[in-house]
């Protein structure tokens, strides 16, 4: 399926070239480098062919990760594989995958690539299990002469419960749940919501001993409506679509609508979901942009927080685009935070560290334009927002319970956090 894997830097130099089948030559790879990576004007399609060779690639920071093939490969599988590959790398490099890390760890990368893929087919991609086969890097290594330990890990690598090892022990048993929602909104210049959806993610950090059996519940409509007692207790959420970590027993979810699982150790993504109904947009933007003649643009942007008084948003950034020919921007009446015209960003950046609920701030900007020869029309990109609102979910989703049962019958400590972030939060002007 995959003929070779390449890591390429921004200049189009091959950093790593691991060939599995020997049917894609380095020359062909170099061709890709010079045509696609080095020529960066336009973002090329992620899947393309040069001659007889097909290249599937994704770019992370300054590194382009490429899989090549000469067969009619399963694209989605290869793409997902590349994403996972990057995840594995970042777990090994301690977070950052960049050119330096790659150069520093090339032996480790070769070793990883050797275990991860065999003759083009994905093999082991679980970081925990890989650790035990990999000799390089700062990760703990298993004593290879300890026969018992070795047996255990090979069984685990290929066993039925591949995500959790036996015999995990913690002195203090804790579970942390993070509900992270990204709001994607597109609002027309008339203020009509064109599309709004929430893509959510439930991350669980699991520090539990033994083989805990977990059951998880939230205020999802499908579940709530099954239970007549709870049907009218609080608002139920209609989830459009959800997907689970592989540890969740899907047949049980289909039958009983309960989410049951034995969690992997450490942090994992329990589920992702998408909601399109009844979304509480945390911020409302009211922009007025007027072009006064050829050399002036007047903007007034009012931002209103639509959540309860007792919570507040942090790191709110509002990017108000300005024409390329902007000479100067007079900012007046900045309600809160700091605003500045930043030419590199192509607009006024308004930063508000702390934005309490149920308040509104206004920014008035008077933008002076330099007169230019090419009198082109301004394209008016949308106003974009970035923010984080802790303890708030745009969809209204709440975790109702998480029950944990284990043979040793310990009482774990459970923590929960909610946070809503801006996904692509855009308001056209």
């Amino acid at each position: 399926m995959i003929s070779s894997i390449l890591l390429i830097n921004q200049k189009g130099e091959i950093l790593i070239h691991r060939s599995y089948k020997g049917d894609v030559t380095r020359t062909e790879a170099t061709l890709f480098c010079s045509r696609v990576v080095a020529a960066k004007e336009a973002r090329e399609k992620p899947i393309l062919s040069i001659g007889q060779c097909h290249f599937i690639h994704t770019t992370i920071g300054d590194i382009t990760v490429v899989a090549t093939t000469k067969s009619n490969a399963n694209v989605m599988l290869v793409l997902k594989f590349l994403y996972r590959l990057v995840e594995v790398f970042s777990a090994y490099f301690g977070g950052q995958v960049d050119e330096n890390a790659v150069r520093k760890n090339f032996v480790l990368i070769y070793e990883l690539l050797d275990e991860i893929v065999d003759y083009g087919f994905p093999q082991i991609l679980e970081v925990d299990i890989l650790k035990k086969y990999i000799t390089q890097g700062g990760m703990k290594t298993v004593d290879l002469n300890d026969e018992e330990q070795l047996k255990k890990l090979t069984v685990q690598a290929t066993g039925n419960c591949s995500w959790r090892a036996d015999g995990i022990k913690y002195r203090k048993n804790e579970v942390y749940i993070d509900v992270i929602e990204s709001v994607n909104v597109l609002i027309s210049h008339k203020g009509v919501v064109l599309r709004a959806d929430v893509s959510g993610q439930i991350m669980v950090k699991c520090l539990l001993s033994g083989m805990p059996e977990c059951k998880f519940g939230m205020n999802d409509k499908l579940v709530m409506n099954r239970d007549p007692r709870k049907a009218n207790k609080g608002t139920a959420i209609a989830i459009d679509d959800c997907r689970f970590h592989q540890c969740v027993r899907l047949p049980k979810f289909d039958l009983e609508r309960t989410i049951t699982f034995i969690p992997p150790d450490g942090t994992f993504e329990l589920m992702t979901y998408r909601i399109t109904e009844n979304i509480n947009l945390p911020f409302k933007i009211l922009p007025v942009v007027q072009e006064r003649g050829r050399t002036r643009v007047e903007c007034s942007v009012k931002v209103k927080a639509n959540f309860a008084k007792n919570i507040f948003a942090t790191n709110v950034i509002i990017k108000i685009p300005c024409p390329k020919t902007t000479a100067k921007a007079h900012l007046s009446n900045v309600g809160a935070g700091k605003a500045k015209y930043e030419p590199s960003q192509g607009g006024i950046i308004w930063r508000i560290r702390r934005f309490p609920g149920d308040t509104e701030y206004t920014l008035l900007a008077d933008v002076e334009l330099a007169s230019s020869v090419t009198d082109k029309q301004w394209y008016r990109p949308p106003i974009a927002m970035d923010f984080q609102v802790p303890m708030f979910t745009a969809s209204g989703l709440r975790v109702r319970f998480l029950s944990i049962q284990e043979k040793s019958n310990y009482k774990p400590v459970k923590w929960i956090r909610y946070i809503t972030k801006a996904g692509s939060y855009q308001h056209r002007i």
Binding site: I47, T58, M76, T158
Partner: protein
């Protein structure tokens, strides 16, 4: 086998201390780590180097570097210092990464294999796998250690050794391989078993016979029921790849049930591979169909996009023959797919979008996402490739109900930073108008709005779209009239200008000053560079002439004379002559031909035909969908003896030789097919009038093959003859139309005078043809010769070159491998014949030569390959006039085996009559002439 002992003394003198600065600026410029210190990856000498200048600048130093390393390796072995040795080996790997050839160190590395240090072992094995092919003699020395490791008590080492052993790709090691793989397949450890399974596949590629003739295949089949999911996955992959020729591995009911029941225990990769293979299993009945789908449904909740798309593929394939079910299934798939679209990974989103577009290509599937069109609104920061697909989807999803909102949204994209997106948006708006007649009014309004944006590429694209619109909705012209003058000003590039000219010609009667809009263009005729604009200008002026004779007479006269003098573009020149002769022959007739009433175009032909889409459904979730081509077009399936290329280095070289050639055919295929459909798109009866789409010489070309008609009724063919007889016919031609003869004719007479007058003053080159109009008895002949020289020479057709009765074969008939295979097996043998062969010894050059020789005779190669001294080809050909050409064409299929010793043997199959087969066989032997002995 023994390993030679390391050299005791170092003949070259004291080597530099390991890890010391080596003089190579790009490697190890930093001071070496303290020897024996807590090394590991972090203190690696080669690793921490800054991104220095590319290594090729240091070619001179390279040899020295490698030599230094060699000494380092030798010395380290004396030292017995494991850490130092690790560092040295790492350095070798670092060089390898940089693309420096370190194959010279092979013997040193072989010596190091005996190490017990796993870290070193892994690196050395990686090195071996990379360079074994070029050092096959030496590589055999490593086998000993590898074999020993295959029996190690640690499963990790067993697995590693087995994987490396199989990766060496050496033909002379097959025997060792097979034994090691067998042992591995029976290993109690899953890790070793899974490695052995892949090892089987590697062995298969080195030597297919060894696998086929042994029980390895049946062992693999047994392993599909293994307890370890990864072993099962690998076994499935291996079996499937070994059966590529048969279209993948066979899937029986038991296997299917077994896999479905256990699918949740597989990793996401395993699951998607199984899902992909499941489509090979044809369900026995509807109940089974439903059972499979019910089991698979829960998989849609899986976190992996690959699994979700795999399930989609299964569902689509299972319900293909059940339209009702298909629709319901799509409804179920909708939400998971839309979720995938909204991920933040652009590549993933793009892939899903392309698949959605394919799903929506079935007309009855549109309802599924009709109300979800807002999901496909573009975000500002999305890359262009996503926006393009989204535009296509929006176009597909539009209905009279939602077209308003979609149009409002589309108008936002016109100001996109990427001009390509802006253009595509405008094209999409135009497509919507053609699709939904109710929206035409709004759309024309919007298009006029785009013109007022005053952006040059927007205006151009708008005008082009407007022209297409008017071909369907002629009544809309009244609203466009006002902006024509403006259009001419804002439009800059040839394509847009052509569109405006077409509109001027077509609707000139309703534009008050249309002749005067044309006039400046005619005056600047010489400065115009684009031939297509010139041709279009000619046509427009001609049409307008019939509508506004008094105003146009002069303009047309000067235009024609300018165009006749035009020498750089034969198209323009010929077109001008043609018009001139047409008018001078009979103005009424000319008017009938040039200005005939047009039927509104109801629909424009799609670029991609339905068949391809149908086939793509079968190849769901693969590269095919992304390219919009079936896999035969881009995967090299030419070599039926695919395995042959792995036999030794000699044949490998040959296969790379054959590659560019294979590439060529693929590319022509890619270009060739849709073009035919596009050419057929224009169904207007008026051949001359409308050339906005194809201002080509095809018209003239056609007449080179047609005998000249003698009646004046055949207007076109008669042009040459008519002009030849000059004035007589002009008088005669009117006939009963004499009294009806309107102003244009008289005008034409004077115009003719103008032209004759002008013609005398043209330079000799042009004058010879223009002047010939009056003087030569059969200027048609000259005209034809002219046509021939200017047009690309027609492909050498066997029918014209030979006087004996022969068969006319079609150029590039449609055929793909599965179809070939089906028909080949279905048909009976019609003809077999053997002749002695005259083949050079170099079989690989023959392969290409035979294919080329046959292709010249329009006998095309489906597949070819070499097995030993034997060459085998499969050819196909179609009689001219087959599908696409109108009549019923007969296909011929040929199997041809050539062997230097035993001769050339052909087997022909066909559904045609005996006489045709005989003719074809004769043609085939002619193609193979140079390879047949006396």
């Amino acid at each position: 086998m023994s390993i030679p002992p390391p050299p005791r003394t170092n003949p070259v003198g004291p080597p530099p201390p390991p890890g010391a600065p080596s003089g190579h600026p790009s490697i190890g410029p930093t001071p070496a780590p303290p020897p024996g210190g807590p090394g590991g990856a972090t203190s690696l000498p080669g690793a921490s180097r800054p991104p220095g200048p590319p290594p090729q600048f240091f070619v001179d130093h390279k040899k020295g570097e490698v030599n230094e390393l060699r000494q380092l390796l030798r010395q380290v072995q004396l030292d017995k210092d494991q850490q130092k040795k690790r560092d040295a080996i790492k350095k070798v790997i670092a060089y390898m990464t940089l693309g420096i050839d370190v194959s010279k160190l092979f013997s040193e590395m072989i010596m190091a294999t005996s190490t017990t240090d796993l870290v070193q072992k892994k690196m050395i094995y990686l090195y071996l796998a990379n360079y074994a092919e070029s050092n096959s003699e030496l590589a055999i020395l490593a086998v000993n250690t590898l074999q020993k490791d295959c029996r190690d008590e640690d499963p990790t080492i067993r697995g590693l050794a087995l994987r490396s052993l199989c990766s060496l790709r050496l033909t002379n090691m097959v025997e060792y391989l097979e034994a090691a793989i067998r042992r591995g397949l029976n290993d109690h450890n899953g890790y070793v078993r899974k490695t052995a399974v892949v090892g089987c596949l590697k062995l298969y590629h080195i030597s297919p016979e060894v696998v086929k003739d042994s029980d390895l295949l049946s062992i693999l089949y047994k392993l599909t029921a293994d307890g370890d999911p990864q072993v099962v996955t690998n076994a499935l992959c291996a079996l499937n790849e070994m059966h590529t020729e048969e279209g993948g591995m066979a899937f029986d009911r038991n296997l299917m049930i077994h896999l479905l029941n256990r699918i949740r225990y597989f990793s996401e990769w395993g699951q998607s591979i199984i899902l992909n293979l499941l489509t090979h299993y044809p369900p026995a009945d509807d109940n089974e169909r439903f059972d499979i789908m019910n089991i698979l449904e829960e998989r849609l909740k899986h976190a992996s996009a690959a699994v979700v798309l795999g399930v989609t593929k299964c569902f689509v394939c299972l319900t293909e023959s059940h339209p009702e079910l298909h629709y319901q299934v799509l409804l179920r798939l909708k939400d998971p797919l839309l979720t995938l679209v909204s991920t933040s990974c652009f590549e993933l989103s793009y892939t899903v979008l392309v698949h959605i577009l394919l799903l929506l290509s079935k007309v009855d599937s549109l309802g599924v996402m009709e109300h979800d069109y807002k999901h496909f609104f573009c975000r500002y920061n999305e890359p262009s490739y996503i926006k393009t697909v989204k535009l296509d989807i929006l176009k597909t999803l539009a209905t009279p109900a939602n077209v308003g909102e979609i149009l409002t949204e589309l108008s936002e994209y016109v100001s996109d930073v990427d001009s390509d997106i802006a253009k595509k948006t405008i094209q999409a708006v135009g497509a919507l108008a053609l699709k939904i007649p109710e929206a035409v009014d709004t759309i024309v309004e919007q298009l006029l709005g785009f013109l007022s944006l005053d952006i040059d590429y927007v205006s151009t694209a708008t005008v082009v779209v407007m022209k297409d619109l008017l071909r369907k909705y002629q009544q809309q012209f009244s609203r466009v009239v006002g902006v024509m003058e403006k259009c001419l000003k804002v439009v800059a590039d040839p394509e847009g200008l052509c569109a405006v000219l077409w509109m001027l010609g077509e609707f000139g009667e309703s534009i008050d000053d249309s002749p005067y809009l044309l006039e400046p263009l005619v005056e600047r005729f010489g400065e115009e560079e684009s031939a297509s604009v010139k041709t279009e200008l000619l046509t427009a002026a001609m049409k307008l002439f019939f509508k506004r004779p008094p105003e146009m007479q002069k303009i047309l006269g000067s235009l024609l004379s300018k165009a006749v003098q035009e020498t750089s573009s034969p198209d323009v020149h010929d077109r001008a002559l043609l018009y001139y002769r047409l008018v001078s022959y009979n103005v009424l007739e000319a008017q009938r031909i040039i200005n005939c009433a047009k039927q509104p175009v109801e629909g424009f032909q799609e670029n991609v035909d339905k068949d391809v889409k149908e086939k793509l459904f079968g190849e769901f979730n693969s590269l095919s969908v992304l390219y919009g081509q079936t896999y035969h077009k881009f995967v090299n399936t030419k070599n039926i003896f695919a395995a042959g290329r792995y036999q030794g280095s000699e044949s490998r070289g040959a296969s790379t030789d054959a590659l560019p050639e294979a590439l060529d055919t693929t590319q022509t295929d890619l270009n060739g097919l849709p073009a035919a459909a596009a050419a057929a798109a224009d169904e207007e009866p008026n051949l001359l009038g409308d050339t906005a789409d194809q201002p080509s010489t095809s018209l003239l070309m056609d007449h080179t093959h047609v005998p000249l008609p003698d009646g004046p009724a055949a207007a076109l063919g008669g042009v040459g003859v008519g002009v030849g007889d000059g004035g007589d016919l002009l008088g005669l031609g009117g006939g009963e139309g004499e009294e009806q003869r309107a102003a244009p004719t008289t005008v034409a007479d004077s115009l003719l005078g103008d032209i004759e007058h002008e013609a005398t003053s043209v330079p000799p080159a042009a004058a010879s043809s223009a002047g010939s109009a009056g003087s030569q008895p059969h200027p048609g002949a000259l005209d034809l010769a002219f046509g021939l020289t200017t047009s690309p020479p027609p492909a050498p057709s066997p029918s014209t070159s030979s006087t004996t009765p022969s068969i006319a074969l079609a150029s590039r008939p449609a055929m793909d491998a599965p179809q070939f295979e089906r028909r080949w097996t279905a048909l009976s043998v019609r003809h077999t014949e053997s002749r002695s062969a005259a083949l050079p010894t170099d079989t690989h050059s023959v392969l290409a030569a035979v294919e080329q020789s046959c292709e010249q005779r329009r006998i095309y190669c489906m597949a070819s390959g070499a097995a030993g001294s034997q060459l085998k080809f499969f050819f196909y050909a179609m009689e001219e006039g087959g599908p696409g050409g109108g009549g019923v064409g007969v296909y011929f299929f040929v199997e041809c085996v050539m062997e230097a010793g035993s001769g050339v043997k052909v087997t022909v199959k066909s559904e045609g009559g005996a006489d045709k087969v005989a003719l074809f066989v004769a043609e085939l032997w002619r193609a193979l002439q140079q390879f047949i002995g006396a």
